[in-house]
């Protein structure tokens, strides 16, 4: 068949290590300070995105209002005043050329960027897992067919197709949804390969054979026996896909097929900010920083979740740290 090669999960193992229930997973997750911090950061980002209108009202600004008097028209529209025009009215300064408020645009941008990133990643995970499982569990023909379809997807130059897709779809189709679908449906090849490879090796394990002997359907086996074990590698891979998707959205904006103006997104902000490196560094830095923080948070959280799903991680915890979590330990008298 086609290749079984994919990004192996960090700390992948031949036979999955013993794990335990959701409660223990949560406990282990809570024991990781870094994961908690990452979750907090992400929670904050989501809150900021959701609360954008409130915060905008608090600042007293509108994301699309022009402020012609705040920019130096003769000098390419660079904001007056230092640091990109930061002032009491405009907490993070204003956009060059238009004078639109950057703080509010950044917040509203989070809505789109997080939606697109999470949505597209979700689509990739769902399609990738479905196709990967289908290929690994199906018969020779299904496997060959799905693997070839996966190959076609992987071989597609993504951006060009995204451009074509956006051009083909009617202009009044909601753009964020289109971006989610375009990115999600074009870039699931890696996920499918990962899932297929992992499933093939899981399939060799006896507990899957045992499940077959119960006379359950393939779907039942996949759901009960395979999906839980696939969670760890899928989460790790998804944490890498997520920033890639945000960057993809930015690249699509750069090529003119991103969100529709005047809607802001971090990607759109980055793509218009490109040339402002020197004249107004803050303009570039702000969205770039948001992107980086999001990436970091998702990576750290993904690591945390993956580790929490891996019970071997428990014995890796240092003794000193484990004592602190002892109070929460309730389930099962593990040795």
């Amino acid at each position: 068949m086609t290749n079984t090669l994919t990004l192996p999960e960090p700390e992948a193992e031949a036979a999955p290590a013993p794990a335990s229930g959701a409660r223990q997973v949560r406990r282990r997750l809570l024991a990781r300070k870094s994961a908690l911090a990452a979750a907090a950061v992400l929670g904050l980002l989501v809150l900021l995105a959701l609360g954008a209108p409130l915060l905008a009202a608090l600042e007293g600004q509108d994301p699309n209002a022009y402020h012609d008097t705040l920019v130096d028209s003769a000098r390419g529209g660079v904001p007056f005043g230092g640091f990109g025009g930061i002032s009491a009215e405009h907490w993070l300064g204003v956009e060059p050329g238009t004078g639109r408020d950057l703080f509010v645009r950044l917040l509203y941008g989070a809505r789109i960027s997080l939606t697109v990133a999470l949505g597209a990643t979700l689509v990739q995970v769902v399609v990738g897992v479905a196709v990967g499982l289908g290929a690994a569990l199906g018969n020779r023909f299904t496997d060959s067919l799905l693997s070839h379809v996966t190959d076609v997807m992987v071989a597609m130059p993504l951006l060009v197709f995204a451009i074509a897709l956006v051009a083909v779809v009617p202009a009044d189709f909601p753009r964020p949804v289109l971006l989610v679908v375009a990115i999600g449906l074009l870039a699931w090849g890696g996920m499918a390969r990962l899932v297929r490879a992992q499933t093939l090796s899981l399939k060799k394990l006896d507990f899957v054979s045992a499940a077959r002997l119960t006379g359950g359907s393939s779907w039942r086996i996949a759901r009960r026996e395979l999906l839980p074990s696939l969670a760890a590698p899928v989460i790790t891979y998804a944490a890498i896909l997520l920033p890639t998707n945000i960057v993809l959205e930015a690249s699509m904006s750069f090529l003119g097929v991103g969100v529709k103006p005047p809607t802001p997104s971090w990607g759109q902000m980055l793509s218009t900010a490109t040339t402002w490196f020197r004249a107004d560094p803050l303009y570039v830095l702000l969205p770039a920083l948001m992107l980086f923080v999001t990436t970091l948070a998702f990576t750290v959280l993904g690591d945390g979740v993956r580790a929490a799903l891996d019970p071997r991680e428990a014995s890796r915890l240092r003794v000193g740290r484990s004592r602190r979590t002892s109070r929460t330990s309730g389930a099962g008298g593990a040795q």
Binding site: N64, Y66, D68, A74, G77, G97, A171
Partner: protein, 544 residues
């Protein structure tokens, strides 16, 4: 007001021959066949290789909008109400291989531009020459076009269907470059064109991305008053991003010190940076090209069939934010006239719907109420998604923000550039309101106004530019009348008057005229930027 434009001269000292000039460009010179180049695009690198019957006067500013003889001894002798144009070739004209340039070669050059294999180019030859509308080029119709006569090797006569006082301007385009029939390789000619200009093409790789031009021994300075050809070699590197081009020019290390660009402006961000740096600011040339960026209506569609709505929008527009979105006041000048503010176009100032610097939403609301839209109005504005600072999302959002003040809710429809281009120029699919821009094929009112407002130029299934579908016999007659005038200044005045009177109908909302800021390398001398193209003229540049 009067333009001082193109004042840059580059580094001090008299220009000398020698050295290598580097051209850093964005777009590769994909087309190099003289038949396929479009007039206004055909003036840069191709103009170093192809000489034409007439040419642009290579001078700064308004002086550069003049047309002057090139291969011909004059800009052309009109007869029969400017329906017949006769040219005589200069003596001693040679190709790169030393063979003489003949009038038959120029005729052949014009004819081959009709071949579908060599598509591209401007529509004027087809529209103007007798028999041009059906002629299929010399490959299919060997006998050639009867409306071009070459009574002897040095004389060429063009017979037109109608009077065209602007013919000398049109004769600057590369279709009027000589092509020796024996050397013509059809679609492959561009790979090895036979040079009549000061340079010949030595290398062309990557589909026009990297080119090397060297001196053409067949060219003699005596026959060419316009091109200087100071550098020994010209190296073209394209496919670069504009940010990189400007950064390279400002850093100017190595070969970049002797570099220019012919297709890249300073963007707003770069301008902000350059103006803060005296040394860099000295290396910026300013150019004007006759162009207007405007809002185009379809006055046949609701609600724009109501002149009051169009007027309301004219009043509501905030030109300051539009100009800012287009890069700020150094890169765009607010426009209230359709004609560019240059004398050669016949610029006549007017402002029929004074919106002031930042728009007059009160007046707009009033007009809307009168038109029956007192409760507000919802419209769609179509624009391109290309980031060109002209028809781009930024400008559209600026319009959107201004109209909001007047109670007009604007929905934006951004189209991918091809889609946009096809839609706005299609009679059937044309959006009702969209951002458009129009530049003159040469600095005259004719090519500026006629395609947009001449009712006979409404093209049903080709590229239509009369997007207002104006078909007013009075306008049409006036256009015909002015076309008969061969005195440019006299014609200009009438074009100006025509523009002013059409303006009253509010068929368009002129927004701004772009201004070009061209950065060049620190070793570059003799910088000439004419108002014909607004482009830095590489035939004038010296690097020593």
């Amino acid at each position: 007001g009067p333009k001082q434009g193109g004042d840059a001269q580059g580094g001090g000292g008299a220009p000398k021959k020698g050295g290598t000039l580097t051209v850093l460009n964005r777009a590769p010179q994909k087309q190099f066949d003289p038949a396929r180049l479009y007039t206004s695009g055909g003036g840069n690198i191709p103009s170093l290789v192809y000489r034409t019957l007439t040419t642009r006067h290579r001078a700064n500013g308004a002086e550069g909008t003049k047309v002057v003889p090139d291969l011909a001894t004059s800009t052309g002798t009109p007869s029969d109400d400017a329906k017949v144009w006769t040219y005589k070739l200069k003596d001693g004209l040679k190709y790169e291989d030393g063979s003489p340039i003949t009038a038959a070669d120029i005729k052949y050059g014009v004819e081959r531009s009709f071949a579908p294999e060599l598509s591209g180019g401007a529509p004027y030859l087809r529209d103007w020459l007798i028999g041009g509308d059906t002629y299929q080029g010399p490959y299919k119709e060997k006998k050639g076009l009867d409306s071009i006569e070459t009574p002897d090797a040095k004389t060429i006569v063009f017979h037109l269907k109608k009077s065209e006082g602007d013919f000398p301007y049109f004769a600057t385009s590369t279709q009027f470059a000589p092509v020796p029939k024996a050397k013509d390789t059809g679609a492959k000619y561009a790979e090895h064109p036979v040079s009549s200009g000061p340079y010949k093409l030595v290398k062309n790789t990557g589909d026009g991305e990297q080119m090397l031009l060297e001196r053409n021994p067949g060219w003699s300075e005596e026959t060419d008053k316009e091109r200087h050809a100071y550098p020994d070699r010209i190296e073209v590197k394209s496919g670069l991003s504009s940010a990189v081009i400007n950064q390279r020019l400002s850093t100017g290390s190595g070969a970049d010190a002797a570099a220019v660009t012919t297709d890249t402006n300073l963007g707003p961000a770069e301008l902000a940076q350059v103006t803060g740096d005296k040394k860099l600011a000295d290396r910026v040339g300013t150019g004007h090209f006759g162009q207007t960026d405007y809002l185009a209506f379809n006055p046949k569609a609701k609600p724009f069939d109501n002149p009051k709505v169009r007027e309301a929008i004219s009043y509501a527009v905030n030109r300051t934010s539009v100009v800012n979105a287009a890069g700020g006041s150094s890169l765009a000048e607010p426009a209230t006239t359709f004609l560019p503010d240059q004398k050669s176009f016949g610029f006549t100032p007017y402002d029929h719907f004074p919106a002031g610097a930042t728009g007059n939403p009160a007046k707009a609301k009033e007009l809307l109420k009168e038109a029956g839209y007192g409760d507000g109005l919802e419209i769609t504005l179509t624009h391109s998604t290309a980031q060109n600072f002209e028809t781009s999302p930024e400008v559209a959002t600026a319009v959107q923000a201004a109209l909001k003040e007047a109670g007009i809710k604007v929905k934006l429809e951004g189209l991918e550039d091809n889609d946009y281009d096809e839609k706005i120029h299609s009679v059937d699919k044309q959006p009702d309101l969209f951002l458009a821009h129009w530049g003159g094929d040469w600095p005259s009112g004719g090519p500026f106004l006629a395609p947009i407002f001449d009712g006979r130029q409404i093209v049903k299934d080709g590229a239509n530019f009369n997007t207002a579908r104006l078909d007013d016999p009075k306008v049409n007659d006036e256009i015909d009348a002015i076309n008969k005038i061969t005195d440019h200044d006299a014609a200009a005045a009438r074009w100006g008057a025509l523009d002013k009177s059409i303006g009253q109908q509010a068929l368009t909302v002129p927004l701004f005229h772009p201004v070009y800021k061209r950065l060049y390398g620190k070793d570059v001398k003799n910088v000439v930027i004419s108002n014909w193209t607004g482009v830095l003229d590489i035939s004038q540049v010296a690097v020593k």
